[in-house]
Symmetry: C2
Subunit: 425 residues, 2 copies
């Protein structure tokens, strides 16, 4: 029977074998009382199964507050599988199963869902990305190299007209991609309808004059019905990229947008730290990105290398790689999405960002890294492209800068950040 396998890092005062049993029981047929209908046949068909247990250590105190106590707390990795017969291929109940009430179990003093192996049968009811990197680049008439992008700043407070003026400046600087901040959706001071009209007027004009198409990701995050109206609004003005804060609208919200969207979907993971920050509780990006891709995200944020956030560079690298990896364990469509690097990015991180992936199918967003260039934002964008070209051709950025002025000035302007260790995949 086709099964789904989830990997957990757990800790238990009763030992990880007992901790894993608690998950398997609670999240499938198990009950804590005496239930005559829980027959052996039913358990065999619907029970979750412990596939693998690996002890990694013990501690003399629990990682998280825990009703059950013990002399020591064993830590390790548990792989547990479920028959898809239990939930079919719908993602919400899959989520309520592999990431459901298990986080509260008294037999666990730590529990993180770290991976999820899904079979290709999930493709039958989950559409996946409509565009991916190839479709995204085709939508702007083809493109070499990574997409160089930026984010409207300040995050909130600009009028639609002021936003459009910034967009004009950035389009003239040669940018490929611009996005709303996640804080800027449809507030009264900058209504989405007015912003789409003002910004798209600038970008449509720009395309008419130069033949260059710029992607603007409009933050359409809202209730479902309103997001659908927002898609219509984008279409009316010739816009073609909605942005959705996936944690704010939920997995079903993202999927609802995918159902009605003729456009590439820019997936923003605002609130991400809640899932990732603690080593003792949470859900890894490896898991979420699969679900978001199945639900239809074309672009997914992964933070930046040496960003302002606390996530380690090895995690950022692993996240970026994960969205380009096949989504299923047994073949089927790959549902590859496009990673988006963002936050405190300058010319210094573009070569490692590219090296992590081994390709140019990513979006690289910079703010100060473009606007802070002494020769203006046009030179800022050019410098980033030059850094990407150098990386693609395997030329050290310092040497390439000898013959490329914008890059040289950028190197003199921006401080070289110290990157964390990034293991080879």
């Amino acid at each position: 029977m086709t099964r789904v396998t989830a990997t957990y890092e757990i800790e238990s005062p009763a030992g990880i074998a007992r901790g894993a049993e608690a998950i398997a029981g609670e999240q499938s047929t198990g009950t804590f009382g005496n239930v005559p209908l829980e027959t052996d046949a039913l358990r065999a068909r619907h029970g979750a199964r412990i596939e693998e247990l690996t002890v990694t250590g013990t501690s003399d105190r629990p990682a998280l507050p825990c009703r059950t106590t013990g002399d020591s707390y064993e830590r390790g990795v548990a792989r547990i599988s479920w028959p898809i017969e239990n939930f079919g291929t719908q993602l919400p109940t899959l989520l309520a199963t592999v990431a459901g009430n298990l986080f509260e179990l008294a037999d666990l003093s730590a529990v993180r869902l770290t991976d999820l192996d899904l079979p290709k049968v999930f493709a039958a009811t989950n559409p996946g990305p409509q565009f991916g990197a190839r479709g995204t680049k085709q939508a702007i008439g083809g493109h070499d190299g990574p997409l160089i992008g930026t984010i409207i700043k300040p995050c909130v407070g600009l009028t639609p007209e002021a936003t459009a003026e910034l967009v004009r400046e950035m389009a003239e600087a040669g940018i490929d991609f611009i996005k709303d901040d996640e804080l800027q959706a449809n507030g009264p001071h900058n209504p989405l309808a007015a912003r789409v009209a003002a910004v798209q007027r600038v970008l449509n004009d720009h395309e008419d004059k130069t033949g260059r198409r710029v992607i603007y990701a409009y933050n359409i995050t809202d209730e479902i019905d309103q997001m659908w109206r927002n898609l219509d609004l984008l279409a009316e003005h010739g816009a073609f990229c909605p942005m959705v804060c996936v944690n704010a609208v939920g997995l079903s919200g993202l999927r609802a947008v995918r159902e009605r969207s003729p456009f590439m979907i820019h997936g923003h993971r605002a609130g991400w730290g809640l899932y990732s920050r603690s080593p003792d509780i949470g859900i890894s990006f490896q898991v979420w990105q699969k679900l978001w891709r199945l639900a239809g995200a074309d672009h997914l944020h992964v933070n930046g290398l040496a960003s302002k956030f606390t996530e380690e560079d090895r995690i950022v690298a692993s996240s970026a790689r994960s969205v380009q990896a096949p989504v299923f364990t047994d073949g089927g469509p790959e549902y590859v999405a496009m990673p988006v690097y963002s936050s405190a990015q300058t010319i210094w991180q573009i070569a490692p960002a590219q090296a992590v992936l081994g390709n140019d199918d990513f979006i690289y967003c910079a703010g100060g890294g473009i606007q802070g260039h002494p020769d203006g934002p046009g030179a800022g964008v050019t410098a980033l492209r030059q850094a990407a070209d150098a990386a693609r051709d395997g030329i050290p950025v310092d040497r390439y800068a000898d013959t490329h002025r914008a890059l040289r000035v950028a190197m003199e302007t921006y401080k070289r950040p110290i990157l964390g260790e990034i293991p080879l995949d």
Copy 2:
């Protein structure tokens, strides 16, 4: 200007004042670079404001892994406010603001969102519960005392027919409320359509024969379009209570159900421990329950006192009270929901469950606590009602049992659990 105020428990290597500034900046107008458009006027109008800071302690090590390090880590409470001008009254962007990228800030070594003060202007676009406790009780023709409920077990694996047989037994036992397990939605072995048909046939017959109406909460959790079709399915068969796993479909998913639902919505919080378990990162129930009520949940799970889960009884009590408290800080509709106690509940916890609230407007779900009664499930339900009656009349359960046989047998059968301390509110 109308503002929203969020309360955080934070820890920072740079002191909580700096930690709070990082949140206020990152989540409103702040940028980490040089942005000419971030004027003083814009900051005054759209900036988040630190309203209050309270230091509660220091530690020599960070609670969570943190890129920024310090000699000590100051801990405390920060109250931060935002003008609603930034996001209007839509909940998804409110969530992306008060629970957005702040969890990842390198200046914070712990951050929990513990409360959210919302003004009544949010009522304009957020419908709130359609039924609440009063509407729920009216829907079954009026009811005295708490609703006595149960959950179909085993959680998964039964056929629709076997489910209906259990339902018949429980209806004959006099139960008020039955629910699907959160793991049982629309899996191939027990499709929702077949289950609704089989179960509702039993309950409609029961009503015709006895005049008693039993609420069955069908787990309609799924993608948005399917949840809407599921509502139609319920209507066709005379069912009148959908259950939604709110974390599985997201806030917008819940709201989408509310938009189309003529029925009371049973809100299940499977996955809850992810938000609540760590003292160092998360979002409290105080916050989530307000958002879920605004989005339209009529019933909300709060665990049970002395349950099988690790949550402390004082938290369970505070959660139960919170869903009956007014949702806004400045009047307006109260949007009161109905708390649902569940998990390892027997006759012993019903008096404290009632005392916590000071009323009978709750659902009390028991499994083994009903089925394990030596005189059968009918006596099990009766015993729970007797315990509730005793509590309402201020009579000690032991004394009441002298004259009420079902209760006495239950007292002899179920072990008295040890309750945690529950502070008076």
